[in-house]
Symmetry: C2
């Protein structure tokens, strides 16, 4: 369908469009393909039992020989989390900045994939040549250190990919975004821009990360006992600011939660955290110190059921017991879907007598994504000829298109695409030319892609009204009941209080079977369907519930 045409550049998003997460974009020119980012998404509420979601990479597997590399913009899970799954099928060199690859290394080690992988560290301002592409890494600011945007120099022109970004004029421990290079690229001419849409609905500006540090200082000054701060493990700058405030007020710092310990170790080793000597202690030491000398940095800012903060709140943490006088700061805002988890943790912490500070009460969090005015700045500097809004649900892509139009862009040059959409660009034209396979691959335990709609539909059904199993053993010759019917139900009713209903169900099954015998119905499928139907009516009539009914007939 899509024949190689040397004069055309293809851009094919495989994830991150019409969704939040699992970002992945394909850039293809002639016999060269590069993949930008390789992220995972967290399952929707309907994806019962699913651990995580990764992009469908059928297109890459079909074009195995063309794919030259994966290029990463930063180290968040929605940009690197699918790597272990993709690398098992496609062993590709991976390009990224130091911290990004430090986090990738950690992840690949866990999956036993590090030895075979090829990680190539690049620095902002550096350009690498991969096939006919020249990839230029450009510093941006985001809620993780070492984030970059990409200028992808291709034979048809320059493609600018913003990555995730915000405009922070006073970032922590790092430089501001490379505005001069953005301006220079814009002046020279950018053919296509792909730009982050996450916060497109928010007017104004995202505040600087530094403002959170000021809040920490104020809170630390007032706190008389222990301070516990929960935040995203990957937000090194936030962790740095907590450590800075702790140092300022003469407190030691202990780290809690596996991912927080991992990330702090990687960041420390690579020099992304500036940690005063002797300030870090472990939780056992922290318990021996006077509590007014202690800060604990922990995971669990989203109220995740197994996280360290949640375990502290429910008295299940082995080393940290919340006591009256503790100040707990939740330095994050809720990712949609997590509101109730967080609320529960806040309630539990309050009940234990802690003072809890969260984003509705104080400025303990800022977003990592650009709001409208920042996005306008980027559009204005880059002034691309064509524009593809990325990283967002349809509503965000649509609003981002609106914003681009309001800045004077021709609507014909804006493409609201979907995962799998093929966009083709020449030096002077751009259009959507087709689609390739793209979608969600569900990961459940060891299974990658083996849980499909039928399995999910069954889980949903079972979750709503439970299960009603009928087993009966029947003689092959006479077709009469030899044993049973036995009934087992789970998640339907409390059996001891429903003995009459169970008895009625058994009688109904007996009646149905003897009817089948009389009518000489002997096809199993028909008999099962009849049992299912009559039980379904009975149970719905008596309970207004629809459990999954499983008739099992053993023949001897």
């Amino acid at each position: 369908m899509y024949l190689t045409n040397k004069a055309k550049l293809k851009i094919i998003p495989l994830g991150g469009l019409n969704e939040i997460g699992k970002n992945m974009t394909v850039f293809e020119y002639g016999n060269d393909i590069i993949v930008v980012d390789c992220g995972l998404a967290f399952p929707d509420d309907e994806m019962l039992g699913i651990d995580l979601v990764i992009p469908d990479i059928s297109y890459l597997l079909k074009n195995k020989d063309k794919v030259k590399a994966i290029v990463l913009t930063h180290g968040h899970e929605d940009h690197i989390g699918a790597l272990p799954y993709v690398l098992k099928q496609l062993n590709l060199p991976i390009y990224g900045t130091r911290l990004t690859l430090g986090l990738v290394e950690n992840k690949l080690k866990e999956y036993g994939l590090l030895r075979d992988s090829k990680l190539i560290t690049v620095k902002p301002k550096e350009t690498v040549k991969i096939g006919q592409f020249k990839i230029e890494f450009i510093r941006t600011t985001h809620s993780i250190a070492d984030s970059v945007a990409l200028a992808i120099h291709t034979p048809v022109g320059v493609i600018f990919h913003s990555g995730d970004f915000k405009i922070d004029y006073t970032p922590i421990a790092g430089e501001v975004a490379d505005f001069h290079r953005f301006a220079e690229l814009g002046a020279q001419g950018v053919l296509v821009m792909l730009c982050d849409s996450t916060n497109i609905e928010r007017p104004g500006y995202t505040m600087s990360e530094r403002t959170v540090g000021e809040t920490f200082d104020n809170l630390f000054r007032k706190a008389e006992q222990r301070i516990i701060v929960a935040t995203f493990a990957s937000n090194i700058h936030r962790v740095q600011q907590i450590i800075d405030s702790a140092h300022k007020f003469g407190r030691k710092v202990a780290i809690s939660g596996r991912s927080m310990i991992n990330v702090v170790n990687v960041a420390k080793e690579l020099g992304y955290l500036d940690i005063p000597a002797d300030i870090l202690i472990d939780l056992d030491e922290a318990n021996k110190l006077s509590f007014d000398k202690v800060v604990i940095i922990t995971t669990g800012s989203q109220g995740e059921p197994m996280s360290a903060l949640t375990r502290m709140a429910s008295s299940e943490h082995k080393k940290v017991e919340i006591v009256p006088g503790d100040t707990v700061i939740i330095s994050a805002s809720a990712i949609p879907g997590n509101e109730k988890f967080i609320s529960r943790v806040i309630n539990q912490l309050f009940k234990k007598g802690a003072e809890v500070i969260y984003d509705t009460l104080a400025d303990v969090h800022v977003s990592g994504h650009a709001c409208q005015e920042e996005i306008k700045l980027l559009h204005t500097l880059i002034k691309p000829r064509f524009f593809i809004p990325v990283h967002g649900e349809y509503r965000h892509l649509k609003q981002h298109a609106h914003l681009a139009e309001s800045l004077g862009m021709d609507p014909k040059n804006i493409f609201i695409a979907d995962n799998g959409t093929v966009l083709e660009f020449t030096k002077s034209s751009g259009r959507i030319t087709g689609t390739v396979t793209a979608g969600k691959v569900l990961v459940d335990g060891l299974g990658v892609g083996d849980v499909g709609n039928i399995v999910l539909r069954d889980r949903k059904h079972l979750s709503q009204d439970g299960l009603f199993v009928v087993v009966v053993t029947i003689s092959k010759e006479k077709r009469s009941i030899i044993a049973g019917p036995d009934i087992i139900s789970r998640g339907f009713v409390y059996v001891r209080e429903s003995e009459d209903l169970i008895e009625e169900a058994k009688n109904l099954v007996r009646k149905t079977l003897s009817q089948c015998e009389k009518d000489d119905i002997c096809e199993w499928t028909s008999i099962k369907t009849m049992i299912k139907d009559c039980l379904s009516s009975l149970l719905y009539e008596k309970t207004k519930r629809n459990p999954m009914i499983l008739p099992i007939i053993m023949e001897i």
Copy 2:
């Protein structure tokens, strides 16, 4: 335990504390009990398959003879929704204002309970005597018309219950709250105040309902085609404003969604909606008109899966098909937990080419609850001696206690209570003296309270990893396998792709059974446990999943 003490007033919350919803409070003096509000709550995410949650009224049933009446503050579901369930067990007279009882009537009719019920309409400023209580109804403003606060005059003093409220100086089609009576009560002396805590975390003031009308006017002025507005059915004032704007711009109005139709009918009959002649049409007529002459008011502002707006968005509505040019206004904000549903509907509407306006883009909604400055006004006017924050999770009750303290209240006079807490007051003292049974009763279909923790735990288990049933028929004498083992799985793996695993499982069961035979293990429970354990290990090893395993042994 709690002997009647004539000198003491008991206040016992049975719902609405440490939760949002199912509001119900008991006031008891001597042989008289009155119940204020009788609401339902919507199930948490973990309450799989549950339809709704009502308060446990064991305490009322135990004191049946004392309970004299139910008094309602307003007609929202979280204040009246449990009535059909409670009235089946306790046939009590119900006091409320006209619109409140109009909605109650509607509800009782649906449940076939209207004929036997006794509804007594009261007006704001009216006082009714019930046993030793005098209940005074005082006008407030809220997101439903005809809301009242209560001054409960008791032998030990006046109890003030705010109900749900906000301070709206320019309410729609009604009077402002009765500030003068609040002030008078405060001047004369209020013993205890119970006050709404819903918006306690929000600084400042909630905007007037009227501001939404201004936004409607602006949006209606710009809209060139059809306008569809989704809002809460019970928000009569919002509906009034939509009709007013429609009238102003020469549009007809059609109503969609069962609860919207019901509420509009009740409100119209009782005179709570001022509807210009001939403006209301049905959906069929609306489809025949030029779309620039049409407004549709619909349910579905929370993206509820079966609601009218959701069906329109997914092309499943019989009479309304969304087309490019439609303006859809979602005049509501997300109730926590509904964010993703709403987002999905917004995305679908945008994809169909509609212009979608929601609360992040324009001022199309205001809350019905008071923010901090309004709550301070009420505290200042009422200046109660004792204070019980109500209607909120623990975090809200705690913040409300903070606010009361900041206004100069003695912390000893503030009670953060729980459902079931017994608070006793004399003319000069107040204290917590014990607890009574209180809690959540889950309603699932026809079952009220028959779904407990075991059933929910099973539903949860089934929802995560599905089900794995093993059936085998065994000879009673020889204990050898006669038929089977057969395996049925649902929601676990896609069976056709897992034939090897199923075969391996069958072999394992055969092996285990013959081992049992050899070892002369013949107790069914032991055999079943052995089968469960060996299968569980196998399945976890192969899939890292833990389906529910049900071994069924038939004996002949």
